[in-house]
């Protein structure tokens, strides 16, 4: 099954208007499978959410984490069980903090890399110099409340460019939830998992293997057959409410050489010979609606390495 995750959420433990109880209720109201608790610089909500889920038996999982909110950018930590100090962060060597969190078993990623910082909101833009992106597990390519072109588009391009250079980076997205905001038509992260599976393990597997989908509803599923040297693409509906599914899509595959576009019917599939991509070995499949404008981007699928 595909699990829908909301990976960036705050509570009154930091600066949101939602209490832990209200956050759980809000997630349940939109049929979320699992949500991350990523308060700014505190893990005080962890025990509260644990208690709520234990007492209520709510059919939802929590991914415990934190958003390291530093002077020079925000770092999302997921599967973080204990506080890791960040205060001595060196903007020219952020890999040290990524490594410290990873040593504790956490998954670390760059949140909203191109948000506006000074003079709007100091620290929100990621201004650290990353020399070694292998220290990073994922990049939040869509931070839903942020402006599409000014902030999210360069985030998507950053991830695409790094991936096409060969870095193994998963793509995620999030609501950066600070209140009872609507999920309708917003991007969510999807991973593969089992019913009643351990969400922390499933997330770690998905991030480490870069098998994450960032989607507003439809999931673009790709299958590579090395024996036949073919790629097959199809679309599957997700459980995310509110998306109006069209009859047809456009499949775009981005490589170092550029984009190739193919029509894709909702009820059908597209089968491509891998030779079509020449020497390009890294493919980024994306699903669009009527046009290939960013406004019509429905899904970014896991990267395919031929």
């Amino acid at each position: 099954m595909y699990k829908r995750l909301e990976l960036h959420n705050h509570t009154t433990e930091s600066d949101s208007s939602l209490t832990c109880q209200e956050l759980v209720a809000h997630m349940l109201s939109d049929s979320v499978d699992a949500f991350a608790l990523t308060d700014h610089n505190t893990i005080s909500g962890h025990r509260k959410i644990r208690a709520i889920l234990q007492e209520t038996g709510a059919p939802i999982d929590c991914i415990y984490g934190m958003e390291y909110t530093t002077y020079y950018g925000h770092i999302l930590c997921l599967n973080l069980e204990e506080y890791v100090p960040w205060e001595n962060i060196n903007r020219h060597r952020p890999e040290l903090l990524f490594a410290a969190a990873k040593e504790k078993g956490a998954l670390t990623g760059i949140a909203h890399p191109f948000s506006y910082g000074d003079p709007f909101a100091r620290g929100c833009r990621f201004e650290m110099t990353v020399t070694d992106y292998s220290a990073v597990d994922f990049i939040e390519i869509f931070n839903n409340p942020e402006p599409l072109h000014e902030v999210n588009e360069p985030g998507l391009l950053l991830w695409e460019n790094l991936v096409l250079k060969g870095y193994r980076l998963a793509a995620t997205c999030g609501m950066d939830l600070h209140g009872k905001w609507s999920f309708t038509d917003q991007y969510a992260t999807f991973i593969e998992g089992e019913k009643n599976g351990d969400i922390a393990s499933e997330l770690a597997e998905a991030i480490h293997s870069c098998r994450t989908w960032v989607s507003r509803g439809p999931l673009l599923i790709a299958c590579f057959s090395p024996e036949e040297n073919t790629l097959t693409f199809s679309v599957q509906k997700s459980t995310k409410p509110g998306f109006v599914y069209p009859d047809s899509y456009q499949l775009v595959i981005r490589t170092v050489s550029g984009d190739k576009t193919f029509p894709l019917q909702a009820s059908g599939s597209v089968r491509l010979c891998a030779d079509l991509f020449g020497n390009d070995r890294i493919l980024i499949p994306k699903l669009y609606g009527n046009t290939t404008a960013l406004e019509d981007l429905y899904c970014v699928s896991p990267v395919i390495t031929l």
Binding site: E87, P119, F120
Partner: protein
Amino acid sequence: MKKYREENIMQELYRVGGTLNEGFVGQISYTVCLETEYKNLDIHFIFDKQHHTAVTNELIAKVRRTCYDNYGIVDYPQDKAVDLILGEMKTEIHTLATLNDEFIGCIHRQSTDRHMLYQNGEATEGCIPQTAFSGVLKVTVLVFNVILDNTNYILSVSAE
């Protein structure tokens, strides 16, 4: 959570103040040795001058120049610059506490007057309840942004 003053009187263990200059980014840590064991603790932090109260042509020009330099925004509208200066730009300071090197809380909210109160097994949101306080308390003032010179702050630690 009830304010401690309604029910209890805590003893002030430590009080310190300081002045920050415009543009400072970094942290200032204070270490307090708790010589006896305490049941409840309050860390109180206040600062002044969170927002600009007046707009000058120089400030508007600086904001517009920053918008261009940082984000390539050409001719950021003057009226928006005024709104930004008076509404959104702020001095941002947060507080973080550890007890014997263990994290016990951080307040990350836009307020100029905040308590990190640990009392009767409960704690202010952002903080982790503790059963007792002894050993070494470290309070770190996290300074994200100071927009005005001579911004004053006071930190006090009380316990019972």
